[in-house]
């Protein structure tokens, strides 16, 4: 009945005491937390600045592909990560947003929404991703008026209602499963074929109230005060159809949260950050890991591993390359 993000808020004074950090980590998802763990073990002066510990793990009800933990709740996994990092007494400034990153000689100045600025020799951007938008008419207008990107947050509003789930990957299938206790009817709509794991797809077979429309593209969200349905194109018949529904859960993957540095480093056409084998961006001393990078498989274990790589590479960089004071 209680969902802790167990943590005493780091007193900001603790954070303010350090004049120059060896390594600051922006983001507290799997990538950021693991990077801090590795860096602290190397003896680096490392701190984490984060809005919400756990990142996308908080939106995930069940995780069943992180080795060593079968069927663990996303949040519990996040608490385990955090516990481990806390044991090493890594200072964490949480509940704030980093709003600017500026390179000053070899160092980086990080400005934060609490109004303060921190200086560091190296920086990791582990800001992950945000839900990708469909980009169709009506989507924005009806956001929070039926359109949602967070199944766990908003499922209670769909009690006894018909909800459409957009997407065909794991998170869409999980979204369907999250809605089962609430919605009276669920319709999954996806523009192509399923990409989700077979083990998850098998679970859909048992859901009676689920309808599946593959090869169906959502064209617009319609409604008045609240959304009342979607217009969709059936790609087989090339016919447009109106599907009436009270809600639309959009689970079509994430967009890299790269805006803080996308203008100073190289990115790909999706604005995902390009990194080398050591997770370093095109700017020396500035690293990136996890869903924010170009790496195509957005997974917890992969993000965590990239965080570890980044921390080890930062340690090497500080010893071999960094020339500041």
């Amino acid at each position: 009945m209680f969902n802790f993000s167990i943590d005493k808020k780091t007193q900001s004074s603790e954070f303010d005491q350090i004049k120059k950090w060896d390594f600051l980590v922006v983001g507290g998802g799997p990538a950021g937390l693991n990077a801090a763990l590795y860096a602290k073990r190397k003896g680096l002066k490392v701190g984490i600045i984060v809005n919400e510990i756990g990142g996308q793990l908080n939106n995930t009800t069940w995780v069943d592909n992180y080795i060593g933990f079968s069927m663990i709740e996303g949040e519990e996994l996040s608490n385990k990560f955090l516990d481990h990092v806390k044991q090493l007494e890594v200072p964490i400034l949480k509940g704030v947003y980093v709003q600017g990153i500026e390179q000053v000689k070899q160092d980086f100045n990080v400005s934060v929404s609490n109004g303060k600025e921190y200086t560091t020799k190296t920086l990791l951007l582990a800001t992950g991703g945000e839900p990708r938008k469909l980009g169709v008419t009506g989507e924005k207008e009806f956001t929070n008026k039926g359109v949602t990107y967070c199944a766990t947050c908003d499922a209670p509003f769909f009690k006894d209602k018909h909800v459409i789930v957009a997407g065909g990957g794991n998170s869409a299938v999980e979204g369907v499963i999250d809605l089962v206790p609430w919605a009276s009817k669920i319709t999954l709509v996806h523009r192509s074929q399923f990409r989700a794991d077979k083990i998850l797809l098998d679970k859909l077979n048992d859901i009676d109230k689920l309808d599946i429309h593959l090869e169906t593209q959502i064209i617009s969200v319609v409604g008045n005060e609240q959304m009342t349905g979607i217009q969709a194109l059936d790609k087989h018949t090339n016919e447009k159809k109106l599907i009436k529904a009270d809600g639309l859960l959009i689970e079509i993957g994430t967009e890299a949260n790269s805006k803080l540095i996308k203008d100073i480093v190289e990115t790909n056409e999706r604005e995902e950050i390009k990194v080398d084998l050591n997770q370093m961006t095109s700017v020396p001393g500035l690293f990136a890991a996890g869903d924010v990078t170009e790496q195509p498989f957005k997974q917890i274990i992969i993000s965590a591993a990239e965080g570890a790589k980044a921390a080890l590479a930062v340690n090497q960089y500080l010893i071999q390359i960094y020339k500041g004071e």
Binding site: F4, K8, Q11, G54, G95, T143, N144, P156, F157
Partner: protein, 214 residues
């Protein structure tokens, strides 16, 4: 009734409350009948109080304690406010039980009301002090929303720093009528002075910019 907080949870709450500086008082409003979650809310407050001796709890009746109802602008039950060590109301309010994810905004409100430094730069505090119009912030949440406690904590910290600002967490399912009135079907949803809407969690300075426009 069985305890709401088991040993493990109690231990976590105790630890989270350890940075508390001064005393605080929670004033809870309930009523005799027709309130499904009043008893549970009272129990939560009582069990939390037992975990830190800086906390006291007073229970009032919305139909009887009219003076307090007026003083703290109470409209429905269960609602509680958190007062500082001088028993001063600084606009920090919870409508509905702060269980689920909201345990985090509840812990944060207690710790900061007790006088722990909010860690904001002087620039922000100064901007905030220039707000002179009365501001009412409603933050609608569900207990299963991981992004909501952040929005509630930000609204509460604005209230703590400016006496013209009042901020309330509103649990959308308990306060269904109010949610319907404000068209809440996604959370966190923030309503300012019953008029302006903000969706999602925002950094404190962005929040402040919205308030400055009013």
């Amino acid at each position: 009734m069985a305890n709401l907080l088991n040993e493990e949870v109690s231990k976590q709450i105790k630890e989270a409350l350890s940075p508390m500086q001064n005393e605080i008082t929670m004033v809870l409003f309930t009523k005799e009948s027709g309130c499904n979650t009043c008893e549970e809310t009272e129990q939560l407050l009582t069990e939390v109080k037992a975990l830190n001796d800086k906390i006291s709890v007073e229970v009032k009746d919305i139909d009887k304690d009219k003076e307090d109802v007026e003083k703290y602008h109470i409209t429905d039950v269960p609602t509680f406010v958190i007062l500082d060590d001088n028993k001063k109301y600084k606009g920090v309010k919870f409508q509905g039980i702060p269980a689920g994810h909201e345990i985090n905004s509840f812990l944060s409100a207690m710790v900061f009301m007790s006088g722990l430094d909010l860690g904001l730069d002087q620039k922000i505090v100064e901007r905030l002090s220039k707000i002179t119009k009365p501001i009412d912030i409603k933050v609608f949440v569900t207990l299963s929303c991981p992004h909501c406690p952040g929005a509630v904590a930000t609204a509460h910290s604005l209230a703590m720093l400016n006496e013209n600002i009042e901020a309330s967490m509103i649990e959308a399912q308990t306060f269904q009528q109010l949610s319907v009135k404000h068209n809440v079907s996604g959370v966190p949803k923030i309503i300012i002075n019953d008029e302006f809407e903000l969706v999602g969690n925002h950094p404190i300075d962005a929040f402040l910019t919205e308030l400055e426009k009013i």
